[in-house]
Structure formats: structure tokens, C-alpha cells
Symmetry: C2
Subunit: 342 residues, 2 copies
Amino acid sequence: MKNLTIALDVMGGDKGPLITISSAIMAVEQQANLHLILCGDENIISAELKKQSFSKHPRLTISPTTEVVEMTDKPSFALRYKKNSSMRRALDLVREGKAQACVSAGNTGALFATAHFVLKTLPGVERPALITSLPTHGQDRHVFMLDLGANVFCDANVLYQFAIMGAVMAEQVDGLKQPKVALLNMGEEEIKGSDHIKLAASELAANPEVNYIGFVEGSDIFTNKADVIVCDGFVGNVALKTCEGVARLVYEKAKDFFNQSFFARLLGKLLTPALKKLLKSLNPDQYNGASLIGLRGIVVKSHGNANAKAFYSAIMEAVKEVERQVPDKIKAKLEQGLLPRP
Amino acid sequence: MKNLTIALDVMGGDKGPLITISSAIMAVEQQANLHLILCGDENIISAELKKQSFSKHPRLTISPTTEVVEMTDKPSFALRYKKNSSMRRALDLVREGKAQACVSAGNTGALFATAHFVLKTLPGVERPALITSLPTHGQDRHVFMLDLGANVFCDANVLYQFAIMGAVMAEQVDGLKQPKVALLNMGEEEIKGSDHIKLAASELAANPEVNYIGFVEGSDIFTNKADVIVCDGFVGNVALKTCEGVARLVYEKAKDFFNQSFFARLLGKLLTPALKKLLKSLNPDQYNGASLIGLRGIVVKSHGNANAKAFYSAIMEAVKEVERQVPDKIKAKLEQGLLPRP
């Protein structure tokens, strides 16, 4: 791909430009064909770029805005009254075709609502979904999981669409052929779970284009049993955050253990870097970002308290999705008659 | 409490009497006022007791049955056609007042359905719930969580009743005063989540007898923010099993790390016992059992592949609940006008 342009919501996130500008500089230094449009307060951005001696970088452009979506703004409020915000501008640039993706660490609810309104869903997609990858057993392996909280409840149709969308992500981003798709349930038996999950299961099973392997349980998320795990946003959000909570608990318990004696403290010093690395990977939301898929454009959400490295990872995730043309691939799959229902 | 009688489903679980008899012997040896009724195949039980030189123990009685609920039996099938099973007998003994509690490692769905049918729910309780405790930050601290899978979906009334029931468990089993009760949600803000969760929240907030602290997220389960966390069975089951899955993943990743070099292998040898202990505590379902509460009797469920120590722990959990008279306390709380709704 020749040129890549990505719009950044520079003001979003707990620390805004202090973090996002550093990440932007890292990204353009790393990726020679990447152009970034920095949406936000012109004075702040100019000052920050100057401080970091990057005032006149040919691939960093400022798109000045006057408003900021606060972390406490209600989605409907942001959507209606913050039309000149950095978040809105970044999404508008994607809609206008001036950028190929948007990255934001801002207010999650506002980003979902605004992205949905500005970009619209792809034909055949009722709802966008939040997707990320989680580590699994083995070296450098992982699983895609969706929805992680964009929708409270998802009916059978929506779960079905998410399964198709998730499979496209696994194919395009990870290069998997016929990724194994599963529905997250409270048991593996066919009789388990809610009616809408059972309906989604029977429709996925009837579709020869999807490599649907059945139900999996929470304990199977990390075992490579499936490449794509589909659930509603409530369940996915609880699972993702439970994962984060367990990681933190293991870290705390390990710290307690390593404080028990001089010898244990020594062991602790030796092992802490490896432990931190593992536990960070169990907090993907915070460290790698998550993507909002099913829209007519690419939107990557970085965590509100992401550091510069995490926001950089989110930008590189957006680069990957642009290069692999994820929305076009989803659209094509849906048009291939994979969604026979209205 | 003078005498305690508990009925055991000896035939339940993947290994049945091979495990459960050893646990029964450990329990009566440990607890001088405990009488156990061993429900199951008389020949097998007698042979196993003889093998372990406990043929004539005065506090081990056999209640002979001819059928076994298989792990693959559908709940409705077990309920209708296995009336002379060890599981059914153990529950019947509780209903008849001949035992004060039942412990089973058998087919979970069948146990729920049969316990619900045989024992009935307490007045004011619409549905029984599966509850267990999970470890939290700090030494020997934990949190009660319910429902863990007895019910797929729970409406506001049921969530409200679960909150009361969970608070009684925390008060009676852990001796906490005014335990902090929370609803598990996909965010802490009041506007988040489904309508039935918001309704349950407003009703709990309006009840001065409940120390309701609001919504918590999956990442808060382990932080001591709440003493009791309430959710529907689907979400609770996914959260519990995700917890188990992360524990196994951490163990696998640690093993990989410890295999990298001679020095790492040495470290691994030193740390494996501590690591195993921590990760076991994150698998409470398997190691301590879970209780089915809201019924007119005490039912403790041990994991299907529980070992003798785990099944012993489940018996001791039942002892504790009998001593603290958990069902009576739940009944009293509900009668105190805590459930004004029909």
C-alpha cells in the first residue's frame, strides 16, 4: 500500500496530547508511508510538537478543533453538542475519505455513538462490535473475541453477523484460513444457554462458509480451541475485565509471596519483568487497543489511561487494518450471500 | 450444635465411591459430631469401607440405592426416571429431615433440577442460586459471587432476591456485618447495563437493610470493593470459568518460561508449589465446592472431577452452613419484609 493516512483524536484519553503526540511521532518514524492528521487544539499540539523538535514533519498535519469530549460526557451529549471536538473531527475525516482510519483513547461510549452515527454500519450489519485479541496457550498465539461492550444485548441475528465479522478479522489480520468460530456459552452441550444463542448456533452450523465449531465455555477462551469467540457485549465485557482482574490479583499475590523473605525478594527481582510482560498481555484493552468493526471505516479504541507505547500500538493496529482493508473484506463476505436474512 | 447429619451422593462425580468414601472417612475423623449417610450401591460402598478398614464406623451409615445419575443424563430425564438414584436419595433425606444437608459431585444440571423439585425454594425466593467464594487481594480475604450458572437469565426480582441471599451467606458463613453488596455490570455508571439490572439496582438502593454499594465491573471482583457480587447465571458462569482459564494460562506460560534455561528450571522448581496453590484458589468450583442456596435445605455441589480433598472441603462447607443455619437465616431475612414485592 502506497500511502496511509490515519486521523488521531489527540485530545482523547486521560492525558491527551502529552501521550498521543509522542505516540504519533513514534509511528511516523517507524512507518515511512504513514501520514497522521492530528485532530485537536492547535496551540497545544504545536507547542508539544515543538517541544519534541518535530514542528515541521512532512507527515504530521494538524486539523484544528475547539472542543474536547470529556470522559464524563454522556454519549448523546457528545454526539449532539460536541460537533467541533477532536473525536468528531477524526471520524468526519474518515467519512470524507481524507483518512482511512481513526484512533482515539477518548470516552468509549461517546466514541461508539459518534462512530456509529458518522460512519454508519456496513450493509447487512445491524450493530458494530468491539473486538480485540487475547493471548492463548503457546508462543505468540491468540484468539479474537467480540463483542466486548459496544452492545449490552445481542440477538441471534447480531451474534450471527459478529461471527462473520470476527472470522474476517482472523483471516485478514492474522492470515488464518477457515478460522474456527465458537459461541461463548455456559456449557458446551447444545441444550445450554439462552434461546437467542441456540438460534445463532443453528444458523451458524447451517452455513458452510463459516467454520463454526460449537459452544465454548469461559475456561476455553485461552486454549486455542477457537480462533474467534462470539458473545454479547455484556458477557464479553465481564469476561475481558475478569481476565484483567485475575491478572492483577496474580501480580498482587506474587508480590506478597516475594516479600516473605530475603530469598523470595531476590526471586521476585529476577521474575518481575517476565511476570509483568505476561500480565500485560492479559490486559489487551489497555495495551493493544480494541477495534470497532462493522462500520464503513476503521476505528481503533485505545484505553483511556493508555501510555505512549499503548497508543502507538493502537495506531499500528489501525495501520494493519487499513493495509488488509478489513471493512471491504467484511462487506464482501456479507455480500457473498452469507447473510440471507433481512 | 450437638449432632450433624449430612447425606452424601456417593456415586456422583467422575470417580464416584473411589473418591467420595475417602472424603467421608476424612470428614468423620475430623468432626466428632458428624454423622454421614452414604447414599449409593451397598456392595460397592461396603467393599470400599472394608478396604479402608472402616466397615463398622458408628457415624457412617449406608442408604442403599440402585440407580446412578450419569454425567450425560438430561436433568429432566434424571428427575423423572432416576427416583432410586444416590443423588435423589441424598436430597430426599434432607427433605424428610433425616439429614441436614446434601453433598454431591454429580451431574450439575440434574442436581439443580432435582434439588429444586425435591426441596422447593424458600418462601419469597423464585429461583435457587449457585454461590461460591473467590479469593481477593490480601491475606485470606474473599468475595461471594452468585449466580454461577443455576439460571441462564435472571430478572430484576430474582437479582434482588439473590442480593439478599448472598448477604446472608456473607454474614453467616464469614461473620461479616453489613456486607457490601454490588451488582456486576459492564461499567460503574448508573446508565450502564440492561434494564433489569438498573431496576434491581434502584430497588436495592431503596432498601435500607441492604448495604448496596452500586455497580462493579469484572476487574473489581478481586479488589475487596464488594463482599457479595450478584449477576445472572450466564454472566457468573462465564466470569468464574474465565477466571479458571486465566489461572491455567498463567500456569502454562510460567511453565514455558521456566523451561527456557537451566537457571529458569531451577527457579521453576522453587516456585511451582506457591504458584499451584494460588492458581487452585482461582478455581474454587473445583477445589471448594459451591452451594445451591434459596432452597429449604442445604445443598453443596462439588466439582465432577473433584479429588478426595476437594470433596472433603465440600462436606466441611456443608457442615459450616448447617451450623450457621443458612436457610433459616435467609428465610428470616426475607420474612423481615425485605421482599415487599409479590
